[in-house]
Symmetry: C2
Subunit: 343 residues, 2 copies
């Protein structure tokens, strides 16, 4: 509780400490998260995703600097699933420091993935909540990679930027891969490179092909109350913005798109809808995590390993193993592992 109060008071050291607690999922972290939760819901969460090599990190730096000129408090959450031994997270921090260090209204947090990605998305959601409660108005969530896992993290955001670069996305095969579905804004970064027209043209044709009404976008979870505004009532045309993050070209326009999308979300009721989808997904993820922990604590000692040995010997299929494990904790029709099987 003390930690939460200090964070609300603007104590940067307490904020850093709390973020570590949250990342390590400690009891103190969980307590503070609960105390902070009623103070959340103000920040604009902006996800930035795209394939490796598109220059996302520099782009995020540039955006942060730009939003500072608009006097907004900015947090950056860099989700880097690279392994700890390559030192990706540490390197990232050092590179960013040059431009943004010393500014008390910017806070940068790199997260190296150590567990499963579901856990990472869960932790990122909590980190964003801490920044939100601490009064950061824009939270830039950067994910490395372009897979479904990154998509799940990007779904945390109100506004999602998908970043491409010339030479990466020049065949349609490369571009269509799932993530376009979640893009609110498309960015062609490194736009000073040859092939920029081809990339932009390909993106445009895929956009025209897809033309997904907002109401049909794939989101996880099913919030109980969905505002069913018609698909055409408030629609958002996904803009394509060229940028060169090295010299800042197009950054101001990109920031405008982001702020325009923020307004769109509010006028179209999408702001509430997206928050609900996001919170439902978070509850589902925590719930799943707790159910598994609880289950293992109820399981008799050695039971799990016994069953797994039967699976390794191909005497039990994974499905049968799960049934056997579930029976074991229900306590009623528990039988020896091999008991009920005839083959």
């Amino acid at each position: 509780m003390m930690l939460a109060a200090s964070v609300l008071d603007g104590d940067r050291l307490a904020l850093a400490r709390l973020l570590t607690h949250v990342e390590n999922d400690t009891a103190d972290g969980r307590t503070a998260l609960r105390a902070l939760f009623p103070h959340t819901g103000q920040a604009h969460l902006v996800g930035i995703t795209g394939a490796p090599g598109t220059g996302k990190s520099s782009l995020v730096n540039r955006l942060a600097l730009h939003f500072r000129t608009l006097n907004k408090r900015v947090a950056i959450v860099a989700v880097d699933p690279s392994s700890p031994f390559t030192g990706g997270a540490v390197l990232g921090d050092r590179v960013r420091m040059k431009d943004l260090s010393g500014d008390r209204d910017v806070f940068i947090r790199s997260m190296a993935s150590r567990g499963a990605l579901g856990g990472l998305a869960r932790t990122t959601a909590s980190i964003a909540q801490v920044f939100d409660a601490a009064g950061y108005e824009i939270i830039l969530i950067e994910t490395v990679g372009a897979g479904q896992g990154e998509v799940d993290i990007a779904r945390l955001a109100h506004t999602t930027l998908v970043v491409e670069a010339p030479g990466l996305g020049d065949d349609i095969q490369a571009i269509k891969a799932g993530i376009l579905e979640i893009a609110d804004i498309l960015v062609v970064n490194k736009a000073d490179r040859p092939g920029v027209e081809t990339t932009e043209k390909a993106l445009r044709s895929v956009l025209e092909l897809a033309h997904i009404p907002e109401s049909e976008r794939a989101h996880h979870g099913t919030p109980p109350e969905i505002d069913s505004a018609g698909p055409t009532a408030h629609s958002w045309n996904v803009p394509i913005q060229r940028t060169v993050s090295l010299d800042g070209l197009g950054i101001s326009e990109l920031a405008d798109h982001i702020l325009r999308h923020y307004s769109f979300l509010h006028t179209s009721n999408q702001w509430i809808k997206r928050n609900e989808v996001r919170l439902a997904a978070e509850v589902d993820s925590v719930l799943q995590h707790m159910l598994v922990l609880e289950f293992h604590s109820r399981l008799p000692e050695g039971r799990y390993n016994d069953v797994m040995r039967q699976v390794f010997a191909r005497r039990l299929s994974p499905g049968e193993a799960v049934e056997s494990l579930l029976d074991g904790t229900r306590g009623e029709h528990a039988e020896p592992v091999d008991g009920g099987r005839q083959r």
Copy 2:
């Protein structure tokens, strides 16, 4: 049971039908999977992953054709998380058909992702088991993208190929992103393009930097019996192979690396170890899935929605919501949602 028997008899139509059952997670599919499981464990599962645009699909086609010249039965599982409306899966099938159709010892299955990725990895594991039981000796599992989710799918494999291409991986930032950790073989595809030396050099330096002993590789799950062979006892040096999938350059060498890795896995006991890790992960995933389903079936009608409404109003934090839901099914200290809270 009939379906399983027909599949074991080599009935292609039954195989196709069973794959659909498995993809849709039907009761018939689950029954057949159990009947087939004791017949699994022979196939060599080869994962092929890498960023979009690296030409994985053509590479997989070429590999399949090559393994056919060695008289091996080959299955291809193309995991395409692109959305249904772009028709990615269908297009993929059509392109592949040209080279491989008509060959009764090749079976190609494209999977379009519709659910969460955890579910996709689970389904892919089951699909691979079906092919394994049906006598396919080499199963090529191709995943689009390069994120953690794809990594999870690649972990299903005994041998994992990570595919790069010039122009994508020319900065270290792009290459280090997590997936190198899982590579048994690195492929520089499109090796006729400019920049191939740079890409290969960057890969080599990252490999030298990392130098991960096999015994410390990150794998999910903890199988009860781990053979603790020393890290240097049997080591595998990750080769880097250049290929041009369009004209078949380097494909034969790449296939040799794959077969060499198969031998390495057997002589070093890694074959058993990887199977165990894989099966443990599969059991954990099915278990988690079942726990969530069971939990929701025990939950009183309307309870979930009630709790979610409190979360949406920021009166309950996600953590508190989960506690409240768990209390509700334990049946003991169930209270009105707001009951126990003072703020």
